[in-house]
Symmetry: C2
């Protein structure tokens, strides 16, 4: 009796691993968590492929009825399916902690995640600093807490992977006022919106963490799928590119090495005005200089 | 005609994806790159599982005869198998660039990598800064260039994933002097050696990037395999733990959040003397304080 937490990867039904597929086929109950990411195929397609029924576990379910997922693992195998890799989001950690407490065997079956696949553009994952999330700005709420993280990453020469907001099953408050439970259609932030919000964040903060018309960035859509789209350029350039369907993500470059640039060339906006290694900017300058000095010191040893 | 670059994941023959397995079965030639990581099964086991012959591509082969891998993809499908995910190491980038230049179709099939699976210990991958590599110290070569990277990561509250040195097919220079081509047996750095070298690096550098008897670290071995081993504690504690067979890796914590600590509890050395969030240390103090101030500012918006 095991609670399998199984990564499905990024594309379609065939991106599950052979081990994952065997675990699913051995399970009495199968849940699909589908509010932190999406596959390019729907539940029906997965059910056909597995020859098994799937229960959708949306946000409400995972947050309020988690025991319906882990308790049945005391009686038989249960699979909880997660798009990408299971250890990349906090939600799943929480369920696993609760299962441990009840001495339920938990087995994680890993898979590709966007944090790994983002390396497809040719930027080295080793050089990525902390990952940031960019939330949808609203009329009265335009939080820029991600800004200082980009500044710190770039001050140390690191790239920044930006995960873009997903709004799934958000309550429609207008309808709720009328006593109805209605959900808004899902929204997935595009690279275009992210670029616009980052440009605005630089205007608000003004510390030169990045330069919207010079810093090299890479917009990516549907990573790991057949029709994935990768376009490199400045934020000013990327905000007008067409990336197509979700999910999108964005990388803001830090120090870019020759091999990285060589690889990125094939994705570059024609005539891009980016300046490679513009990273020593006002805001980040002090940190970058200090870091160089430290490195020089250590390399001399 | 496609050059498939296929991640095999971290465990054994069953960690390939269904898509990956189909690509392998459709290929005329199959190469296995096996000097940047290892699986728990050998070539014969993979050959049985695929029903196909595999050519081992060691370091010499990949660096000096790369065209033997990508040129046949002009005539038929070729699979290049990589342990983990294909986009996590520079070597594969290089082969892909050369294939692009010859207009060869390249398809990456992603999988789990150590950079994702390291999240199994409960530390959030979002909070990881740049990844460092720790090389084997030798009598006359004790490079500590990774030190300033840890310092910078921790100054910003970030965790640091340390990848540990692998020496495969290293020439035996003594034998070579006698005119023979002999290779040394493979060596994989253990968490124990890494901990000792990190303690020495702190003695050499002395800037308090981390504290060997206080900073929380997590040693991990054989991630993604059935018998994976995770132990949390200070470097002083981890250097005496038994992690078993390779591959090992190590995480040095930055700021640790409650949920992360909660998860780590089950892996903690009994009676560990670690101090959570000791991250504001001499060397990193200025950066950390500056960062806090910036964050405070932005959160106030």
């Amino acid at each position: 009796m095991v609670l399998y937490v199984i990564g499905l990867g990024l594309g379609d039904e065939k991106d599950v691993t052979v081990r994952g597929l065997e675990a699913i086929k051995s399970s009495d109950k199968i849940f699909l968590e589908c509010y932190t990411s999406i596959l390019s195929v729907d539940k029906t397609k997965l059910e056909e492929f597995y020859g098994k029924e799937i229960i959708i576990a949306d946000r409400d379910f995972v947050e309020c009825q988690a025991e319906e997922i882990y308790l049945p693992a005391k009686e038989g195998n249960v699979s909880m399916l997660v798009v990408g890799d299971p250890v990349c989001a906090t939600t799943h950690t929480d369920i696993m902690i609760r299962a441990f407490e009840l001495d339920i065997d938990v087995e994680i079956i890993h898979n590709a995640s966007v944090m790994g696949a983002a390396g497809s553009c040719g930027l080295q994952l080793y050089t990525c600093g902390q990952t940031i999330s960019i939330p949808f700005f609203t009329e009265g709420w335009r939080p820029t807490s991600f800004y200082s993280k980009i500044e710190y990453n770039r001050g140390g020469g690191m790239h920044t992977l930006c995960l873009l907001d997903i709004k799934v099953k958000e309550p429609d408050f207008e309808a709720m006022k009328r006593g109805k439970i209605v959900y808004l259609p899902p929204r997935y932030m595009s690279v275009n919106t992210a670029a616009e919000q980052l440009i605005e964040a630089e205007e608000i903060e003004g510390k030169g963490a990045y330069n919207p018309s010079e810093t090299l960035c890479v917009g990516m859509a549907r990573l790991g799928q057949k029709d994935q789209c990768i376009i490199a350029g400045t934020l000013e350039e990327l905000k007008d590119q067409d990336f197509g369907e979700p999910l999108h993500c964005l990388m803001i470059c830090g120090e870019v090495h020759d091999l990285e640039l060589e690889f990125l060339k094939k994705y570059m906006v024609e005539g891009s005005k980016f300046k490679a290694n513009d990273h020593v900017l006002q805001g980040a300058a002090a940190a970058a200089v200090a870091k160089k000095a430290v490195e020089q010191n250590t390399e001399d040893n």
